[in-house]
């Protein structure tokens, strides 16, 4: 019973804090995915542009941020960001150390990583659009922005859903590493709870179960979204795509 009390919602229980931490994990991952979507779209556009310098730049970005450990990137953003903030503070006349907010640093770091993966997802999705549709859009006189809005964007989003689901799962698990910056997300809160009650096994199991709930729930949501986005696609065409 003592165990139940520890993870329950009473005054000595960690239940509420852990649920709040799970919410924080969701928030930081969602922010990271949004940052990554912007970065990923830019990088994908650079890679598809066909200009040698832009393509090289895009390749360097995806190679570096997919090839270097996530933890190292989080250190780079957190410590590097803090010293940048400190020097800005100095320029504005504030003496002393200024820390970068850990939520911002974490979301930015995981966002930069997911941007590298999302760039590949978007690029693949763009290449999956049939050439004929792009030519048809040109033929009926759509200009570039109209073609982008009406033909490219809806299809890229549809083709990208499975890949984005994978990136989301990856980012959800990467978000556990943000705990090193001290942000009270699920990993960090389990760690604090485990340390202060000396019940390491219990709290890491509970934290792990909460992560499993998050990953399996989001798996369902992405599957549903995929079905919904494809409801207008004939099944025969799906086989080809």
């Amino acid at each position: 019973m003592a165990t139940l009390e520890l993870i329950g919602f009473g005054s000595t229980g960690w239940g509420a804090l852990l649920l709040l931490a799970a919410l924080m994990t969701l928030c930081v991952t969602a922010s990271a995915l949004a940052i990554g979507a912007v970065l990923g779209a830019i990088i994908a556009a650079a890679k598809l542009s066909g200009k040698a310098t832009l393509v090289t730049l895009g390749n360097v970005y995806t190679t570096v941020f997919r090839g270097v450990p996530e933890l190292l990137i989080i250190y780079l953003i957190y410590f590097g960001g803090s010293s940048a903030v400190t020097s800005i503070g100095k320029a504005m006349g504030y003496e002393g150390f200024l820390g970068m907010p850990s939520f911002l640093a974490g979301a930015l770091a995981v966002g930069i990583i997911s941007g590298a993966y999302q760039a590949e997802v978007f690029r693949g999705a763009y290449l999956a659009i049939s050439k004929g549709e792009l030519e048809a859009a040109n033929a009926i006189g759509m200009n570039r922005s109209l073609r982008f809005r009406r033909v490219i964007i809806p299809q890229v989003l549809r083709f990208a859903i499975p890949g984005l689901g994978n990136v989301w799962q990856l980012s959800l698990k990467d978000s556990a590493l943000i705990s090193v910056t001290g942000l009270a997300e699920l990993m960090r809160t389990s760690q604090v709870a485990a340390g202060s009650t000396r019940q390491y096994f219990l709290f890491f199991i509970v934290g792990g179960i909460l992560y499993l709930v998050l990953t399996s729930l989001s798996d369902r949501i992405f599957n549903g979204a995929e079905r919904r986005a494809n409801r207008s696609m004939p099944t025969a065409a799906m086989g080809k795509a």
């Binding site: 450990p69 996530e70 933890l71 190292l72 410590f79 590493l177 096994f201 499993l212 399996s216």
Partner: protein
């Protein structure tokens, strides 16, 4: 750019490379064996074993590696029967815990990759082997395993690169590999960018070597798919 500092950082970090490589190679080896066991359970046909394998894969792919590592490192020592067993001298070591959790985690991912490889073997080849009277073990050894391995290789090389990156987490359970040493240098010198640059180069070179080795392996395993050189055709 302060080249003296970069050089000094690089030498310090390079000294930690053997630790990273030891973590990597041991956990890939152990994890690979474990993955074979799990994929055997998963496709073997026994419903109990198959359900266990499914559960294993779900748990280890669905939760972050860090929490698994902490569970092994901090969680196991909580139990008296582990602390007083013959295993404790090993499980007390952070290095062993890191390898164990890395191997357990990669086994879940690799098992799914191997299963995909097995499913890609065409049923006609299996039927052909059966019809000429191959037994189960011979069929696995001569037909199923080589073809499945070849199919699984591209995805498996991605998984191995992910493993190289995952070894960085061992620094959080006090194993001094490249990322851990880099973090220590950053907090000592506050020169984030330079230290990051050196560590990133080390990881990128290691990953590049792994990918090259894997594509060499893939090339040598797919000799039958390459066009016959014109000199031999005549």
């Amino acid at each position: 750019m302060d080249f003296a500092f970069l050089l000094q950082t690089m030498t310090t970090l390079l000294k930690a490379v053997p630790m990273t490589l030891a973590l990597f190679s041991l956990s890939v080896f152990v994890g690979g064996l474990l993955a074979l066991l799990i994929v055997w359970m998963r496709v073997g046909g026994n419903p109990v074993l198959s359900a266990f394998a499914k559960g294993y894969i779900f748990v280890f792919r669905g939760s972050p590696l860090l929490i698994q590592m902490f569970l092994v490192f901090y969680g196991l020592g909580q139990f008296g029967f582990i602390r007083y067993s013959f295993l404790w001298p090993f499980l007390r070591e952070p290095f062993v815990c890191a390898v164990l959790s890395l191997a357990l985690c990669t086994a879940g991912y690799s098992a799914e990759i191997f299963r995909g490889g097995i499913r890609a073997v065409s049923p006609r080849e299996i039927e052909a082997a059966r019809s000429i009277g191959m037994s189960g073990a011979l069929l696995v050894r001569r037909i199923l395993a080589p073809i499945a391995f070849r199919h699984a290789l591209p995805a498996y090389s991605t998984e191995i690169v992910l493993m190289m990156k995952s070894t960085a987490l061992a620094s959080l359970v006090t194993v001094w590999e490249v990322t851990g040493v880099a973090q220590r240098l950053i907090s000592q010198t506050y020169r984030t960018m330079e230290v990051f640059l050196c560590a990133a180069i080390i990881y990128l070179v290691l990953n590049f070597i792994i990918l090259q080795a894997m594509s060499l392996l893939e090339y040598s395993l797919s000799r039958h798919r390459r066009a016959v050189p014109p000199a031999l055709k005549a």
